[in-house]
């Protein structure tokens, strides 16, 4: 008996559905051509005429049609990126049937609305859709998925015009969805690049999310997801994972998420996650933990961040090992107690100890918390002394003879060489 | 030409000058300022040059007070007591520096020849011996043909040949009508050259007059003994301020030896 939720089962269902659809209508499949000078100059007309399973080819040109409801399994294929223009108060296209495939279209301009979350392309309660190779430019919300399942969103270019958080929408917005595959998209300048709320069992792979006002990727109440090989650059915060469980984060790049309260990765109320082989560079705070538990951090590289890891209250069983901490202004800041979090066997560029028995581990423990970070948390104005000689002396004396920083926050077996 | 009136100067509690009145106007004469160590010779000269600021009294140069002025110094050549120069400048450069400060009119070539300095012109000043430095010092002092020449211990470190050159030079300058003021400890030099001596003791002018007058006052044939006589006697200056009675003109008062008090 194959469990319904297992990936294998999903794949079998998906493949059989596609085979079934394409095979079932193979004999009857017809291609409708839409172009400004064709017998069917309107997309709406073609949708009405087409039978389920037909293919509609949309040729280069400008189309001013909105609220296009696709209510049967169709394959819309743009040829030469035809431009579909939006208008105030309306969406451009709504997928209202299973097994719809949208490819090669250019969605242009959905004006923002204060009343409704208007999107260029909406999927409502449907399954087995493919949205691929499209361009979304200046659309309020680009792709909006609600109660959608088994969808592929792949290789789209999505560019917004977000200025403030309140007046902007998300690039890819998913709400109550399952089994999505979001891959190789470029999402820029929205509120959140990719927003997932109540989304489970989904893969987010190879996306490039940049210049988003809030988060590059945002999980809310979403479990059992994984994201890999994505790049998050210059966002308000790279990735925020909140109120979620079992998230697997691997081989992503968090780069230059830089600003006054900026994070590479923000973890809030998240449990049982794995964070592996990611690179965090030049973020104000590379990883911020708040109420995070049972998370393992391995083989990540954190370099040149303001704060590499900031641990706030309520964090338990966070295990950092085999990570590289390179040239961060502050490696670890701990607000509260160490509890049973652990930092063992990492490489620290600031470590100055020695290894007499040549086991690759330093013989004296490394204390990643500097006195100065403690001082700053007590009196924020003291940040004015950053990089002053006095602070260097202070940090040094604390290192030699710890009095203020938590005694248990140490790496007892720091690596001598970065692996 | 130079008038000093009621000049007082103290360094902390040490009262160095306690009311000096002195007028210098003879041209073509050498005046030697004498006195034991700490009697205020150098301080007097420095007051004249504006380097030390008097507590009281006034110095006039050609009728004008010199306080806070600097232009009048163009009329004065000065040889400081200790010859120390910036170590990394060359002799040639320091001569040029002075020329740039005081203007191009100069007779440096003549003096360089006189003191035999030409081999040293491109040497850094830090590498010169004391005597050679003093020669540079003399060259710098005499380079400008100013009407007034002030020399503070000009003979220090000089070899005999240079000393003879210096004496010749002084005699020549005197003959050219300059007013020359010298402090020195070499009595032979004073005896040989000075037309007039001013003897300072404990902040007062103890004696002013010619050498002959001094010898006469002291009943000594030998000048050096006359001077030594003054110094070994714990004498009070006749015109000391504490003295009762009308204040006599010190400069013209004859020297009367005081009886010993012990």
């Amino acid at each position: 008996m194959i469990h319904q939720n297992s990936p294998l089962a999903q794949k079998i269902v998906l493949i059989s559905m596609i085979l079934c659809c394409s095979g079932g209508w193979a004999g009857a499949q017809k291609t409708w051509v839409v172009c400004p000078d064709c017998p069917t100059p309107q997309i709406r007309q073609a949708i009405t005429l087409a039978a389920p399973g037909d293919r509609i080819e949309i040729q280069t040109g400008d189309y001013h049609e909105t609220n296009l409801v696709i209510d049967k399994p169709l394959h819309l294929q743009g040829i030469g990126q035809p431009v579909l223009h939006g208008e105030t108060g309306n969406e451009i296209m709504i997928i209202a049937s299973d097994s719809v495939r949208i490819e090669g279209l250019h969605f242009q301009s959905v004006p923002r609305s204060h009343l409704k979350d208007l999107a260029a392309l909406r999927v409502q309660r449907k399954q087995h859709f493919i949205i691929r190779d499209n361009t979304f430019d200046d659309t309020f919300f680009a792709i909006y998925l609600e109660h959608a399942q088994y969808g592929e969103i792949e290789n789209n270019r999505i560019t917004g015009r977000a200025v403030t958080e309140n007046s902007s929408g998300n690039g890819i917005h998913a709400w109550y969805c399952e089994n999505l595959c979001i891959a190789n998209n470029q999402v820029a300048r929205h509120r959140d690049g990719i927003y997932l709320e109540f989304v489970n069992n989904s893969d987010i792979t190879g996306n490039y999310s940049t210049g988003n006002i809030r988060y590059g990727l945002h999980f809310m109440f979403s479990n059992d997801n994984q994201y890999e090989h994505n790049t998050f650059r210059d966002n308000g915060a790279g990735v925020a994972v909140m109120f979620s469980k079992r998230i697997n984060m691997r081989s992503n790049l968090f780069d230059h998420n830089w600003g006054r309260s900026s994070y590479g990765l923000l973890l809030k109320e998240i449990y049982d996650a794995e964070i592996t082989e990611n690179l965090f560079s030049n973020n104000t705070i590379a990883i911020h933990l708040e109420g995070a538990g049972r998370i393992s951090y391995q083989h990540n590289t954190l370099e040149r961040n303001g704060w590499a890891v900031r641990i706030s209250g309520g964090c338990v069983e966070n295990r950092f090992s085999d990570n590289k901490f390179l040239h961060n202004t502050m490696d670890v800041v701990l607000n509260g107690r160490m509890n049973d979090n652990s930092l063992a066997g990492n490489y620290w560029s600031e470590y100055t100890g020695y290894d007499l028995n040549h086991d690759g581990r330093g013989d004296i423990p490394f204390r990643p918390v500097k006195l100065f970070s403690y001082v700053i948390s007590q009196a924020p104005e003291s940040i004015l002394l950053l990089r002053s000689l006095f602070i260097d002396l202070l940090n040094f004396s604390e290192k030699v003879n710890p009095a203020f920083t938590p005694a248990d926050l140490t790496d007892p077996s720091p690596l001598m060489q970065a692996l | 030409m130079i008038t000093i009136q009621n000049l007082h100067k103290s360094f902390g509690r040490n009262q160095v000058l306690q009311g000096i009145d002195l007028t210098l106007q003879r041209q073509g004469a050498i005046t030697a300022v004498l006195g034991p160590n700490g009697s205020g010779k150098t301080t007097l000269i420095k007051c004249l040059l504006g380097m030390v600021i008097p507590n009281e009294g006034q110095i006039c140069f050609a009728g004008k007070p010199v306080a806070k002025q600097w232009e009048y110094r163009a009329q004065i050549d000065y040889l400081p007591q200790i010859a120390r120069f910036p170590e990394n400048l060359r002799v040639r450069e320091i001569i040029r520096l002075l020329q740039q400060i005081r203007g191009p009119h100069t007779r440096d070539q003549e003096l360089i020849a006189l003191f035999g300095l030409s081999p040293y012109l491109d040497k850094p000043l830090g590498s010169l011996s004391g005597g050679t430095k003093q020669k540079v010092n003399l060259t710098l002092a005499f380079m400008y043909d100013s009407p007034i020449v002030i020399l503070d211990e000009p003979t220090a470190g000089l070899d005999p040949v240079a000393l003879i050159h210096l004496k010749d030079l002084l005699a020549r300058e005197k003959a050219r009508g300059k007013m020359i003021l010298v402090t020195t400890h070499i009595m032979s030099l004073v005896e040989e050259l000075a037309d007039e001596i001013v003897f300072l003791l404990e902040g007062h002018i103890y004696f002013r007059g010619t050498i002959a007058e001094l010898k006469e006052q002291c009943n000594e044939e030998d000048f050096e003994r006359a001077i030594a006589g003054i110094l070994t006697r714990p004498a009070q200056p006749i015109a000391a301020p504490e003295q009762v009675g009308p204040k006599p003109d010190k400069a013209s008062l004859p020297f009367i030896p005081q009886p010993t008090t012990h």
Binding site: G306, L384, L385, L386, S388, F390 | V52, A83, L89, I101
Partner: protein
Amino acid sequence: MFKIMQYSFFDLMRSRWSYSYFGFFFLFTSALLWLSGDIAKVVISLLNVILILCPLIATMFGVMYYYNSREFTELLLAQPVKRIAIFWGQFLGLGFSLSLSLLLGIGIPFLAYGLLASMEIWHFSILLFNGVVLSFIFAGLSFLIALRYENRIRGFGLAILVWLFFAVLYDGFFLLLVMHFREYPLEKVALAATLLNPIDLSRILVLLQLDVSALMGYTGAVLQRFFGSGLGSILTLTSLVVWTTLPLLAIRWVAERKDF
């Protein structure tokens, strides 16, 4: 004044101290550049060195130079020159020679490394500007101290103390103040305190340029807004100008009342 400045400058530029000072910066910067290979990081590393070393060396040189040229100064005083022209001239000569050693010592490796091709040239200029300003400020302060105290040991001691105060102790007091009154909003006080110490001011100016301000959280944002504003720039410049001119005026005051 300019003649004297020129001669002081040449005299100092030929001293072995100048060569060692230049040599230190040259070797240090070259080593940093070729070992780390990252100009932005080198600028940060140099920041600490410049902020500490420029004032220290300027202080030491200032006191030493004054005492060493004491007799020559007397010779100059007997010349028809204004008193203050001599001291300002010597001060300027000192300041320029220190600055030249600094500029060449750091500039040559950077140019050789291809600074012009990188985007860091602005940060680099700000850094050097601060180094030069600090050199002048502390040369002035040390000259003033040497002028005021004939006793060399006392003068040296006091000059080092002044350096120590601005480089280290001031920050200590500042920290004590901030920690003690942490319940109160202290941003304005903190800013004022920064303006009063040229070393702190230079450090903040460079750090703000280096984009580290984002690290500084809320206070950092307040800071950046302040230093970026018109008023902030004016106050900053005023503070630096005051810090450079105040010792000069004090030098004049002391020099005109001093016996040599």
